[in-house]
Amino acid sequence: MFDGLSDRLAGTVQKLRGEGRLTEANIQDALRDVRRALLEADVALPVVRSFIDEVKTQAMGEAVLTSLKPGQVFISIVQRELEKMMGQSNEALDLSAQPPAVVLMAGLQGAGKTTTVAKLAKYLKQRENKKSLLVSCDIYRPAAIEQLHTLANQIEAEFFPSTTEQKPEAIARAAVDYARKHFFDVVLVDTAGRLHIDTEMMTEIQSIHAAVKPVETLFVVDSMTGQDAANTARAFDEALPLTGVILTKTDGDARGGAALSIRQITGKPIKFMGSGEKVDALEAFHPDRVASRILGMGDVLSLVEEVQQKIDHKKAEKLAKKVSKGKNFDFNDLKEQFEQMQNMGGMAGLLEKLPGMPGMAEKLKGKVDEREMRRMVGIINSMTPKERKFPDIIKGSRKRRIAQGCGLQVQDVNRLIKQQIQMRKMMKKMSRGGMAKMMRAMKGGGGLPPGMGGSGGLGF
């Protein structure tokens, strides 16, 4: 989640860093960028407006304008406001009621309610040693009850059976009675997915709510929701006294608009986020950490700076020009890139500069290997200048000669050629798309050597 937004914000801050001081003009520019980045991430318009106003007021403050580190100051304002937007600090479930504490789930179709019920039961058992009863009031979706039953078995939680002939309200009531008699700590009530404009279904969930008086009424929302996230959240919040939100499917690459809007729109905290299909993929939601993740903070910025410092600017600029013109990326360029990377202390060194992003570091690790890089430079070295410039002429006999020249196999040569073709494609894409812009934004040009980012870029 948030990859696109992170890219954009990193670019903005980097631009500011190049400026000596913050002025009204460059703050305006930066804010325009931030505004656009947020809108493109599907953050709701009113939320964007108030965010921009707040950042602007603070950035125009005396202390900020006279600061010698404008980028730093600006980013800390943005960080603070992002945290505020999402609610400052984590709010846990409040299950301190007279047991059984009832938790009611609500949300659109397919948001992840049923899966989340199982995740919560497991979480509560492991973290708080609470015994939960699971019950499904979804009498509509085929096999919905069966789905919860299966999940309950998986996590070894008790399941309260229901049938599609019953009324949802009656099911919920019976489950709570049963839980009271059998000393359960928590009853987790799953409900059918429903549209907020379906008045009949909204009335149904209101009556379930009235029947079991949950201490927690959680709105489950898919982090991939687009512009509609704010509307649906508002509608559910108006229909039900929500106590919190659970954001699902954050393991995808959603733009994150829902995550950033919902707190402001409803005033209700995001309590958890789902990060996978498995029953243990549930995490407490910490706005501050999420904000840091969005901004990549010092980690990535210092990495960018380091790359800029160590990279050979002339060569890098030449490449950037070539790429942005859509020219072919040949073996000479590839070799240069490999050498640049070695200058920077190689991948291992670079990866260490990516703390906060363990996932990313892992991904990169799989893709680039130090020894492999040296071998590839060896292969390129045994090519003729013509072959380096026109990679497409490298066919059978040439491949054999090159392989012999560097003491490797033809397969190794093939692999390198394949990689070169891939990079060429990627470069083509970059020249068309956003990467080129990003590279330009990183003043000295250059950017990161290819092969490091994969097709998705580094993701900051």
């Binding site: 992840g112 009498i139 085929p142 919905a144 069966e146 789905q147 929701t225 687009g226 649906t232």
Partner: protein, 346 residues
């Protein structure tokens, strides 16, 4: 939005589906009085429905109507306002620019000087964008079984759409078999089996944990021997970022090609309209990994959605085969660009 489409298509043929009670009753209940008779879902036109729509129109349609009807003369500021509205209906930057540019051109040529003209031009521009995507899924008579592989992100509506598709093809007199290729999610097989029952069509399944490719292979083999016309294969929801799961889909395609080099004859991505621009990127990635031949866009019965269709048309250019407008067995319709735009702007 699109409530009219849904309402019309819903005049529910309870005759064919005795098992369809829950879903059908849930929907019939709150629509009694508006249920219409005659005409199959595919041929109904939104003629004369505007009055019955007045109460249910929401989101995009509402704001557009307010926008267009609320102002007397047209100026550039209004067009900027329109831009914001398009963006917040998930139309996306690119498609919005296309629409706005076209309007600007007309505006500067003074071709638009009143609200009726704006409405008309807007509709025309939007239709032009969508029309190329209107390509119905046509079964090749000589291909039997015609294999449809259904893929998509978690929870977008694949299994439900398969249930609706089975009904759609049965109504055309085709025999249908379903393959329970989601062997991962809890009760996914049971869910598909229930749809099989509702449609009275066979479901080939091996149960949770089985190899999806082998389930689907078996299903196609079995359909061949029974001379069944259409096989629709369900798959587990997956994120486009999960390389191993995308590999699994490639494997399914490879295995199918062993039976018939042209199978699957349709690789249908089911997209959730509510995902907005996220859906666009997802579709691009699926297309890149496994090659798609068509799209089904679901959950268009919600609000403020539907703008994503314009982004699809602008950037993806894949055929939009069907739109999903509800949870019932009849709530799937072939996509018609003009009708869709009329519904948006109604």
């Amino acid at each position: 939005m699109f409530s009219f489409i849904k309402r019309k298509s819903r005049k529910v043929d309870s005759s064919t589906t005795p098992a369809n009670t829950r879903s059908a009753s849930r929907q019939e209940d709150h629509n009694t009085g508006s249920v219409q008779s005659s005409a199959s879902a595919s041929e109904s036109k939104p003629v004369g429905l505007s009055s019955s729509l007045a109460k249910t129109r929401r989101g995009f349609a509402d704001s557009m109507a307010d926008f267009i009807l609320g102002k007397k003369s047209i100026n550039a500021a209004m067009i900027d306002d329109l831009e914001t509205r398009l963006l917040s209906a998930d139309v996306g930057m690119d498609a919005t620019s296309t629409i706005i540019d076209a309007l600007h051109n007309n505006l500067s040529r003074k071709a638009i000087n009143n609200e009726a003209a704006l409405h008309h031009t807007l509709a025309e521009v939007m239709k032009l964008i969508l029309q190329p995507c209107e390509q119905a899924l046509i079964l090749d008579e000589n291909t039997r079984p015609f294999v449809i592989l259904v893929v998509g992100i978690n929870g977008t509506g694949k299994t439900t759409s398969i249930g609706k598709l089975a009904n759609f093809f049965k109504q055309q007199g085709k025999s249908v078999l379903l393959a329970a290729g989601d062997t991962f999610r809890a009760a996914a097989v049971e869910q598909l089996q229930e749809w099989g029952k509702r449609n009275a069509v066979p479901v080939v399944a091996q149960g949770t944990g089985a190899d999806p490719a082998s389930v689907i292979f078996d299903a196609v083999e079995s359909a061949s021997s029974k001379k069944i016309d259409v096989v629709i294969a369900d798959t587990a929801g997956r994120l486009h970022t999960q390389d191993n799961l995308m590999e699994e889909l490639k494997k399914i395609k490879r295995v199918l090609a062993k039976i018939d080099p042209n199978a699957p004859h349709e690789t249908l991505l089911v997209m959730d309209a509510g995902f907005g621009q996220n859906a666009l990127h997802q579709a691009e990635q699926f297309h890149h990994s496994i090659g798609l031949t068509g799209l089904a866009v679901t959950k268009l019965d919600g609000t403020a959605k539907g703008g994503i269709l314009f982004s699809i048309a602008e950037t993806l250019k894949l055929p939009v085969r069907f739109i999903g407008v509800g949870e019932g067995i009849n709530d799937l319709r072939p996509f018609h660009a003009d009708e869709f735009v009329e519904a948006l702007l109604e």
